[in-house]
């Protein structure tokens, strides 16, 4: 497992004299789920578009699997915020279009079978013949996910994929994406505004300061266990420590980060594990929970 499957090396994006961001460095391991969180206008989407090859950095390079990115590739599937389905094609037609783009010599039956496999995976069996206009927002985004997965990409890039959905649908789709990513070991780079979504889905949450001149402030190494479930994630002893850390960042630190005065090295973005007490590693979670509550002043340890 390469620690640097994706390596963002000193990228910058400038429009005239204003730099949206400058000198961003980040590496992402294979099979990791990375979320980027930050306020609007900090250039999250631009970073994603550069990773996709849809946009070019003004400076710097992105290396994926030991190759510099200079254009879009079938190795990197994009799930668009607006789902971007082709309205004149059916569900099957949309997914099959992607499949036939990847495997140009496949027969019709092979393309159909591959597309069907991923339509089934996202739970749209039976809706193959429908057009996007006949689908709900959640179903459209499922088609978008099936289309991205069907080309078996090395990386999935998701640009706020659930932000246009209602809360209930969003929850269901997050569960689906998590299930699919865990079973397939997909490398994912996702942009979100939603703190809970990031904590539920991501292994690592990258905090981005406000633009212009945005920086990658910290990487939060998600301390929650891999087998977390939506139903009881909020009961985990470290959940609120992570959540509060991120929210504190979004509310105040994202604005004042430059004034914090810490020696910030863009090449070595600090990794933090909120709430985790280093010398308690190996101590059962329930005990850690008590210790943490004590530390945060919510409850005293009973002797």
């Amino acid at each position: 497992m390469s620690a640097k499957f994706i390596s963002i090396e000193g990228i910058a994006k400038r429009y005239g004299a204003t730099a949206i961001f400058e000198d961003l460095w980040l590496s992402i391991p294979r099979g990791g789920f990375t979320c980027v969180i930050g306020h609007s206008g900090c250039g999250k989407t631009t970073v994603l578009n550069i990773l996709a090859g849809l946009d070019r950095p003004s400076e710097g390079v992105v290396i994926v699997d030991a190759q510099a990115i200079d254009r879009p590739s079938l190795d990197r599937a994009v799930i668009f915020q607006s789902h971007a389905l082709l309205p004149w094609r059916t569900v099957m037609g949309n997914v099959a279009y992607a499949v036939s783009s990847k495997w140009r010599r496949h027969t019709r039956a092979q393309i159909h079978a591959q597309a069907q496999k991923f339509i089934d995976l996202v739970g749209l069996t039976g809706a193959e013949g429908k057009r996007p206009a006949e689908l709900s927002g959640g179903m459209k985004q499922r088609v978008g996910i099936a289309r991205a997965l069907s080309i078996e990409p090395k990386i999935m890039l998701m640009d706020e994929p659930f932000s246009a959905l209602d809360a209930l649908t969003r929850g269901t789709l997050q569960d689906e994406v998590r299930r699919i990513c865990l079973t397939t070991g997909q490398t994912v780079f996702m942009i979100t505004h939603d703190v809970d979504e990031a904590i539920y889905l991501a292994d690592r949450i990258v905090l981005m300061t406000n633009g212009p001149g945005a920086k990658l402030a910290e990487i939060v190494d998600n301390p929650l266990p891999k087998d977390r479930a939506r139903a009881d994630i909020h009961r985990h002893p470290l959940y609120y420590a992570v959540r509060n850390h991120i929210i504190d960042f979004l509310v105040t630190r994202s604005k004042n980060f430059a004034a914090e005065g810490s020696a910030h090295d863009p090449r070595r973005v600090p990794v933090v594990r909120p709430g985790v007490i280093e010398n308690l590693a190996g101590v059962p979670g329930a005990v850690q929970h008590e210790v943490m509550l004590h530390r945060t002043g919510t409850r005293f340890l009973e002797s």
Binding site: A52, G53, L54, R71, P72, S73, L74, R76, A77, V78, F80, S82, A84, L86, P87, W88, Y97, A98, S101, K102, R131, P132, A133, I151
Partner: protein, 279 residues
């Protein structure tokens, strides 16, 4: 229970039609005074003078003549006496050829303009100058260079069908949503495949709308063009019957031009519906 809107509308349409026919019939009844004249002279003067019949044919005259045409639409008694079916066929053929040539030219150039900002800017002044020219203004130039009246009429149809299709194609192609193009880019779709699988279906409703406008204009222009070039066609038929002072035939020709125009428009409307997608 109230009848459906369509049925009620049809009923009102029929009533309006009957009222129009009745008004027409009453308006052209013989009203003028009958003049006393020598019977030999009366033979030369016709029914208008001798029986006070209106010079304007009534609906019954037109109906009878229409029936006559319907029974023998394709007779050919030489250059000045052909069935209306033949005349219409000539007109439709000219419109068809000129229009198809325009499609072949307008859609590729429209694609070029829509996809390339350079060509869009470079060709814009030419289009802006050429577009407002009345198609008939080209006629002398066409006759002089082509030296064939039939081909000149086709050229005039070509030039008048060109602009709406060209402009709509360019607009439709330029307005294809960025996100659909990005889908094609991330799937590494080649230029040609992108043009046919993304841009063409996305722009098709706009292109077809342009084609529908064009066929309407082409059908308007063919009548005028054939009046000028003569020989055959429904436009020539109208002018020839005017020279024959057969107002009945002129009215019939007007009616037929309207019906054919409506059918052509209906055809393109159907085609537009086929390529339109709901969003």
């Amino acid at each position: 229970m109230t009848a459906s809107l369509t049925l009620r509308a049809a009923l009102v349409s029929i009533l309006i039609f009957l009222a129009f026919i009745l008004a027409w019939h009453l308006a052209v009844r013989g009203t003028a005074a009958v003049q006393q004249m020598d019977p030999e002279y009366a033979k030369l003067m016709g029914t208008t003078a001798t029986q006070g019949k209106s010079a304007m044919p009534g609906p019954l005259d037109v109906g009878a003549k229409l029936w006559e045409h319907a029974r023998r639409p394709f007779y050919d008694n030489g250059p000045n006496d052909k069935g209306v079916g033949i005349q219409l066929a000539y007109s439709i053929a000219r419109v068809g050829i000129g229009y198809l040539l325009a499609v072949l030219v307008a859609i590729p150039i429209g694609f070029l303009i829509g996809m390339s900002p350079l060509f869009s800017k470079a060709l814009d002044p030419f289009i802006q100058v050429l577009k407002p020219i009345s198609p008939l203004a080209w006629m002398p130039l066409a006759l002089y260079t082509i030296k064939d009246s039939g081909l000149s009429a086709i050229f005039v149809i070509f030039i008048c069908s060109l602009w709406p299709m060209l402009i709509n194609t360019a607009f439709g192609v330029a307005a294809v949503r960025k996100e659909w193009l990005n889908v094609a880019r991330t799937l590494e779709v080649g230029t040609l495949r992108r043009a046919f699988t993304i841009i063409l279906p996305a722009a098709a409703p706009t292109i077809l709308t342009g084609m529908r406008i064009s066929i309407g204009i082409a059908w308007l222009v063919i009548v005028a063009a054939e009046m000028l070039v003569g020989g055959t066609g429904i436009g020539y038929f109208v002018w020839n019957e005017w020279n024959n002072l057969s107002i009945t035939n002129v009215i019939i020709a007007i009616l037929l031009i309207g019906i054919v125009g409506m059918l052509l428009d209906l055809l393109l409307a159907r085609a537009t519906r086929l390529v339109t997608f709901p969003e």
